[in-house]
């Protein structure tokens, strides 16, 4: 991912900042700038999520793209945040620990890097909360 493309969403990626529609109360992560419910009558503001959630489904990636190959195997999951929205994320746990329905909380982690001398991409992963 290019530097500008990554940099643009640093607050969102580092701190789990999404958005909220103050018209209907729906929360969004990944952030949306248009509410699918209210469309143009929606009012979107930033919202920082608590980072607590539940694993909806997961897998263990054994074969990855070149960028992630050195980190395999890793647990990839869809997590439902307590505020409602779902996101795709890694769970920093062993393959054996991962379970559907397990409670997780967000942590700040290194995600990947553009080669040995390129940008290091940090972001949010989740860890078991219990």
């Amino acid at each position: 991912m290019s530097v500008s493309r990554f940099w643009r969403k640093i607050p969102q990626r580092y701190n789990l900042v999404g958005t909220k529609c103050t018209t209907c109360g729906r929360h969004f992560f990944p952030p949306r700038s248009l509410c699918p419910e209210c469309r143009r009558s929606g009012n979107i503001v930033d919202h920082k999520f608590t980072g607590e959630g539940t694993v909806v489904t997961y897998t263990v990636i054994r074969s990855a793209s070149d960028q992630f190959e050195h980190t395999t195997p890793y647990v990839l999951a869809i997590v439902e945040l307590d505020e409602g929205p779902r996101l795709t994320t890694q769970i920093a746990c062993t393959p054996e620990e991962a379970k559907i329905g397990m409670r997780v909380k967000s942590v700040f982690r290194r995600i990947t890097a553009d080669g040995e001398s390129g940008t290091i991409h940090y972001g949010t992963k989740f860890v078991p909360a219990e």
Binding site: K9, P30, S65, L76, T88
Partner: protein
């Protein structure tokens, strides 16, 4: 709107074509389709090409013009349009051709699909295919395409009665069909053990649950039904053409294990054709992974959610079964050159309806195709009738 018919089909062999270029693959499929249709190049009014990612696989954009040029049509100056919807690019190119003819804008139109995937390594391919999902919020986290479908499989198996063996039987069945298809990438038969002893790619999916990386091209010729008899004694009528969209990301879906776009496109197609499930004699579905075939059969309404595994185990979806699914070998065994797959599905159903499918022939009058982009963000469904 005018009725539309397919009058010719052509498909290259699917596989690893080290010595054949992107453009030569297309030219071969196009020539086969025109020969089959009995149409000469100068009669073509327009061209639609389905292609997912030539820009990244072979570093070539502007595919519409390139293809028209190397098909020998540059001096005719016909409109040539590239259509992209990830793995549904082919199905969507066919739909655009059907719309062009149905509307009366064009008469003789070629719809084609082409993908040249083996010029890059596997890691690079995996990364490119992941761009069919949300690059910023799925790919960034390390999601691969098998990984996303594996999460569908895990969710599905947590909620419905599907065994790991039943999932493997989808691949076994599709290899059995592929063994009877001369263009299939894999013409070898496999067993449940082959699948279960292959390496894990993304739990619970193993190597033999996944469609391969493939080079290939396919093309069809469509005309107004009223003109079809000028070219062939066995035109195949397009009874329905439907398309639907859903969220780009799997995590935003209403239900992880149901492709709502498949449900919507399927319903629209049945309504357009005025047909029911009982009228469909064969089905080509988008089995990019074994779990995808299970979901497709259910989401198109051929059985209830949770029943497709049992149907597969009982042989209902195999050749000779109640509703043969993926007689071509599907994406799993026939191969999956992403932009070409949707057109290949049309080619297979047309061959079946014309009684030209040799060792894998089904007694069929009506067939359905189902082509998926991404994890279900685009779905294209067609119904064809003899």
């Amino acid at each position: 709107m005018r009725d539309v018919a397919v009058i010719g089909v052509g498909c290259t062999e699917f596989g690893e074509h080290w010595s054949t270029s992107f453009r030569d693959l297309f030219v071969k499929a196009g020539a086969l389709a025109l020969e089959d249709a009995g149409v000469t190049g100068e009669k073509i009014d327009a061209l639609y090409v389905g292609n997912m990612s030539a820009g990244r696989f072979v570093e070539q954009e502007h595919i519409g013009a390139l293809i028209a040029d190397y098909a020998g049509l540059a001096s005719n100056n016909i409109p040539s349009t590239r259509v992209e919807a990830a793995c549904a690019s082919g199905g969507l190119a066919f739909r655009q051709a059907v719309i062009a003819v149905a509307s009366g804008m064009e008469d003789i139109v070629v719809a084609a699909g082409v993908e040249k995937m083996t010029d890059v390594g596997t890691g690079a391919s995996v990364d490119m295919l992941a761009s069919a999902a949300d690059r910023e919020w799925e790919g960034f986290a390390g999601a691969t395409f098998p990984g996303l479908y594996a999460m569908i499989a895990n969710d599905y198996m947590n909620r419905y009665p599907l065994t790991r063996e039943q999932l493997a039987q989808v691949a076994v069945k599709n290899h059995e069909h592929g063994a009877k298809n001369p263009i299939a990438q894999f013409r070898n038969r496999i067993t449940v053990d082959t699948v279960l002893s292959s390496s894990l790619v993304a739990d619970p999916l193993r190597l033999f649950d996944c469609s391969p990386i493939t080079d290939g091209a396919a093309a069809v010729v469509v005309v107004p039904l009223e003109r079809a008899r000028e070219f062939t004694d066995s035109p195949v009528k397009v009874l329905a053409s439907a398309q639907a969209s859903d969220t780009i990301s799997l995590h935003d879906r209403r239900d992880i294990s149901t492709l709502d776009a498949t449900v919507a496109a399927g319903r629209r197609a049945f309504a357009q054709a005025g047909l029911t499930h009982k009228d469909i004699d064969l089905l080509e579905v988008h089995d990019c992974f074994t779990i995808a075939e299970i979901c497709a059969i259910e989401d198109l309404g051929f059985c209830k959610k949770g029943e497709a595994g049992k149907l597969t185990e009982e042989g209902a979806t195999a050749l000779g079964g109640e509703i043969p699914v993926n007689t071509s070998g599907g994406l799993k065994a026939c191969g999956h050159p992403v932009g070409a797959t949707g057109i290949k599905q049309i080619c297979e159903v047309v061959s079946q309806l014309r009684g030209e499918a040799a060792g894998r022939q089904v007694d069929a009058e009506v067939g359905m195709t189902h082509n998926v982009g991404g994890t279900g963000a685009t779905v294209v469904v067609h119904i064809l009738g003899a």
